[in-house]
Point group: C2
Chain length 512, copies 2
C-alpha cells in the first residue's frame, strides 16, 4: 500500500471521507488513493477558496472535519481566506497539501515555496510528513487535533515521494471519548447569576446548538438573566426554539439597550468586540464597568458547561418562553432590500440552511425570519468575504435533503464565484441570492462616516461595481446554474420558492 492510500484509508475509517479538492501533479497519488478507497468522496473545486470554504461548511453541518486537497504553497495560498474564516469559527478542517519530492525541494524549482509558512497563520496544527510509514499517523494526528471541542484547522504537508512510495498502512484515529469536559467555574457563574437581570448570559459557538440554547434558556428562566448570542459560526433559529437576542454591536448600544447589565457570562463566546475600531470609540462592546465571567471559551465544552450551570441554579427541565411561529406574508410591489428580505423569509422552508453573507443587505431578512420555521443560520466567523457560496456548497454536500440558501452581496460573491460550477456538477440544492447593489456598500458607508461627501475620484471608483454591471444571470448560466433576475417583490418570492422546490442549484440576482 502506498503512503497515499494509507493516508486516505486512515481518514475515511475515521469518518473523514469527503474531500474538496483542487489537486496538482504532486497530489496525484492521493487522487489515485481515492479511487482505491471505498467510501471516499472527492469533489472537484475550480478554485481553492471554494474548496476550503466548502470543507468549512461541510464541517459546520456534520461536526465531522471537512478535508481539502490542495496543490503546494500556491494552492494553499488561494485557500487562506476561507481557512481564516473556518479557524475563527472553530470549525473543523483538515488540509492535505502536496509538496515536491523531498530531494527536489532544495533545487528551488518554480513552484517550490515555504508551505508551512503559508499554512501557519491559518492553522492550529501544521506538520510535514517525513516518512511513508508514518504519513497515516500524521493524518490521524491532524484529525485528532481538530475533532475535540476546540475544532480548528490542521494542515498536513506531504511530499510526493512519501505519498507515492510503498510501505503505508492505515492508522486508527484516537477519540477522546470519556474525557471530562473542560470549562470554567460553575459555582462562581451560578453565584453571579443570582443577580438576575443584571447579568447577560452570552452564547456563541457550539452553545448555539439546540442543546446549548435550551440549556441557556433553562438558566435564564430560573435566574432572570438576559439570554443573548454573539456573532456565531452557526445558530439554530426559528419557531419552537428559545427566545434569544443578539448582543448589541457597540458599547454605546449595549448601554442603551441593556441599562441594567453589570456582568456578562461567556458561554462559548469571546469578550464582545467591534469588527473594526472607529476613531474615538472603544474596541470592547461592553459598557464600562461590566464584569466578564468566562464559563466556557470558544475552545471549551460550552454545552456541558451550560448544563452544569442549569443544575447548579436549580433550573427546570422545560422551557416556557419559545419563539411562536410567525411567517411574514409574501411581499408585493417594489423590489428592495426590505421586500426581498421579506420574500426570502416568507419562502423559507423548515430545515433550511442559510449561509448569510448579506453584510449591508442582511437586516430585513434577519428580522423577518426570526419566527420562521426552524432553520440553521451560518455566518462567516472570520469576516473574510467570498465565503457564502463555498460555505453553501459544503453545507449542501453535508445535508443533501435540506434546502440551502446562500445570501451574498455582489462584491463578496465575486471572490469565489467558481463555487457555482461545483454546485452544478454535484447537483446541489443551493439557491444563491445575490444582493446586486453594485457597490461595496459597506465601504461607501464607512467613507460617509469619515465625512467624505460627495464620494468621487478614487473613493468612488474603488467602491463602485458599475461600469460594467455584472450580469449575474449570465454568469450563473455560464457555469451551468439556472439564473433569474426578478423585477418585483412578488416575482422575487416566486423565484425563490421555485428555486427551492426544484432540485439542483439556482441563482437569483436581486438588484437593489
Amino acid at each position: 500500500m502506498t503512503g497515499a492510500t494509507g493516508l486516505v484509508r486512515t481518514a475515511v475509517q475515521a469518518g473523514v471521507s469527503v474531500c474538496f479538492a483542487n489537486p496538482g501533479t504532486t497530489e496525484l497519488d492521493i487522487v489515485r488513493a481515492f479511487d482505491e478507497t471505498p467510501g471516499a468522496r472527492a469533489i472537484l473545486c475550480l478554485f481553492e477558496g471554494v474548496a476550503t470554504g466548502a470543507a468549512d461548511g461541510y464541517a459546520r453541518m456534520t461536526d465531522v472535519p471537512g478535508m481539502t486537497l490542495l496543490h503546494l504553497g500556491a494552492g494553499l495560498g488561494n485557500g487562506v481566506a476561507n481557512l481564516h474564516n473556518a479557524r475563527k469559527a472553530r470549525s473543523r478542517v483538515v488540509n492535505i497539501v502536496g509538496d515536491h519530492d523531498v530531494d527536489h525541494i532544495p533545487h528551488n524549482s518554480p513552484l517550490t515555496s515555504d508551505i508551512q509558512g503559508i499554512a501557519r497563520p491559518v492553522s492550529d496544527w501544521v506538520r510535514t510528513a517525513d516518512s511513508t510509514e508514518d504519513v497515516s499517523a500524521d493524518i490521524a494526528a491532524a484529525i485528532e487535533a481538530v475533532i475535540g471541542p476546540a475544532g480548528g484547522v490542521a494542515t498536513l504537508v506531504a511530499p510526493a515521494d512519501i505519498l507515492r512510495s510503498e510501505g503505508g498502512g492505515p492508522t486508527a484515529v484516537l477519540r477522546e471519548n470519556g474525557r471530562a469536559p473542560v470549562f470554567g467555574d460553575v459555582a462562581a457563574v451560578a453565584d453571579a447569576l443570582g443577580a438576575g437581570p443584571e447579568v447577560a448570559l452570552l452564547l456563541s459557538g457550539r452553545a448555539l446548538t439546540q442543546d446549548g440554547l435550551v440549556a441557556g434558556a433553562r438558566i435564564a428562566e430560573a435566574t432572570g438573566c438576559a439570554l443573548m448570542h454573539d456573532s456565531s459560526s452557526r445558530i439554530e433559529r426559528g419557531a419552537g426554539l428559545p427566545n434569544i437576542h443578539g448582543f448589541p454591536g457597540t458599547a454605546a448600544a449595549a448601554a442603551e439597550h441593556l441599562p441594567a447589565i453589570r456582568a456578562v457570562v461567556l458561554a462559548g463566546a469571546s469578550p464582545p468586540v467591534t469588527f473594526f475600531k472607529w476613531p474615538g470609540e472603544p474596541s470592547s462592546r461592553l459598557p464600562k464597568g461590566v464584569d466578564i465571567l468566562t464559563l466556557a471559551t470558544p475552545e471549551q465544552d460550552a454545552v456541558p458547561a451550560l448544563l452544569a450551570v442549569a443544575d447548579a441554579v436549580g433550573a427546570g427541565q422545560a422551557i416556557t418562553r419559545t419563539v411562536a411561529l410567525d411567517v411574514p406574508s409574501p411581499p408585493t410591489g417594489e423590489l428592495s432590500v426590505e421586500s426581498a428580505g421579506r420574500a426570502i423569509a416568507a419562502a423559507l422552508p423548515e430545515g433550511a440552511i442559510v449561509a448569510d453573507e448579506s453584510i449591508t443587505s442582511g437586516g430585513p431578512f434577519n428580522a423577518h425570519s426570526r419566527a420562521c420555521p426552524r432553520h440553521t443560520r451560518l455566518s462567516t466567523g472570520g469576516g473574510s468575504i467570498g465565503w457564502a457560496l463555498p460555505q453553501a456548497t459544503g453545507a449542501a454536500v453535508a445535508c443533501p435533503d435540506r434546502p440551502v440558501i446562500a445570501l451574498s452581496g455582489d462584491g463578496g460573491a465575486m471572490y469565489t464565484i467558481q463555487a457555482l460550477w461545483t454546485q452544478a456538477r454535484e447537483g446541489l440544492n443551493v439557491t444563491s441570492i445575490i444582493w446586486a447593489n453594485r457597490e461595496y456598500a459597506i465601504l461607501r458607508g464607512s467613507l460617509r462616516r469619515f465625512g467624505v461627501d460627495p464620494i468621487d475620484g478614487a473613493s468612488a471608483s474603488l467602491t463602485d461595481l458599475r461600469s460594467p454591471n455584472i450580469d449575474w444571470v449570465q454568469l450563473a448560466r455560464s457555469m451551468g446554474v439556472p439564473g433569474s433576475r426578478p423585477e418585483t417583490a412578488e416575482d422575487t418570492y416566486d423565484a425563490i420558492a421555485r428555486a427551492i422546490a426544484e432540485p439542483g442549484p439556482h441563482l437569483i440576482e436581486v438588484v437593489v
Copy 2:
C-alpha cells in the same frame, strides 16, 4: 497631511503611481489619499489575485514597481499565488496591506490575523509601520528594496490609525544610480568560453531584454558558444532579434540535443531544474559532468555582465545571425491546438505582448510565432496558475498602445476570471484566448505517465472540467467583455484579427 497621504505621495513621486486595489475599511485612508494625489491611478480589481498578478504584469513591462492595496491578512492571502509568481520572476511588486488600529489588534476581532506571517513566504521585504511620521519612510524603503536589479516583492503592513492620523509627509526614494553593477568573474567566464561549442551561454531574467540578447549573441558569434534561454518571466522574440533556443526540459533531452556541452554559463539564470521530479529521473536538467559557471544570478546585473564578457572575448559590435521574418499563413480547416496556435501566430501584430499560460496547448503557437514580427512573451515565473489574465491586465495598463494577448488553459483561467471585469472597466486592449480542452490536461498526462489507464473514478472526475462545460462566451459577456467561439481555423484567425483590431478587451474560446 495624514500618514496615508504621505505614503501615497512618496510612492507617486518615486514613479510608483499605479495601484491595483481591492481595499477594505482599514485601507480607506489610502483610498482617500489617492483622491488627493495628482498622478496616482487606482484600478479596482474584484479579487486580490487579479491585483497582484496585474501589478506583476505592469512591473514586467515598465520595470517600475506595480503597487497593490489589499485588505488585511485575508485579502493578502487571496493575492499569495500571483505574488509567488511575481517573486519567482524577480518582478517588482510593492504591497500595501492595511491592519486594524494598533490598539484594536490585541482584541482579536474577527478579521485579525498574522499579516506578516502571510506576507513572509511571498515577500523579500516585510515591515509593519509603527508611526505616522515614519510610514512614508517605510514605503520608500519598500520601493528601494525592489527597484534594484534583484527586483522582488515588498509588503508594507500599515495599521489604520497610523494611516489616518495627521503628521505624515513625503519621503524621497533613494536610487542606487552610479552603483557599480554586481556579477561574477568575467575573466573566468571569458576563459571558459574559449572552448566554443562545448559551452552553453544560458540567458534568463533581465538577460532576455533586447540589450541582453544582443550582448549574448555578440559573445556567441565571437566564441562559437551555444546561445540559449531558460524559462523566463519576459523575453523579447521575433524577427530581427538574435537566434536563441530554449534549453531542453530534461537532462536526457539536453544530452541528446547538446551532445558536445561540457559547461553552462548562467547569465541571469538559475541552474536549470525540472518543474517536478519524476520517479527515477534527476532534478537537474544538466547532463552529468556539465560544469556550471555563474556570470550573474537572477538577482544580479546580467546585462552589464554580458557586455563585460563581450568586451573580454573581443566580440564585434554587430551581430549577423538574426531571426528573419517568416509569418505563417492563416490556417484553414479543422480547429485544433495546432491550427489555432498557427492562427494566433499568423495574426500576431508587431509589438504584441503575449502573456502565455497555455501549458499543454502552447507548443504550436510557440513554434509558429518564432519568426513573427517582434513581440514580448511573458510567462509565469513561478508556475502558479491563474496568472495570464491578471498579467495581461497589468501589461495592458503599462502599455496602452500595444496589443496584449493572454493565452490560458480553461482550468487556469478560472482561478482569476474576475480579471475580465477590470479589463472591461478600464477598456484594456487584451485579447484573452482560452484553450478549452475541458480538462486539467497536464494532470491527465501525468496520470498516464504513472500508468493509470483507463482514467476513471476520482482520477477522472478530479481532472475533468466537463459536466458542466463552462460557457466562456457567456462568462465573458457577464463581465462586459465581448466573446466568441469560432468553429474553424479560419474563423479563429478572423476572430483574433478582429479582436486585436478593435479597442477594448475580447475573449475567444477555442474548443480543442
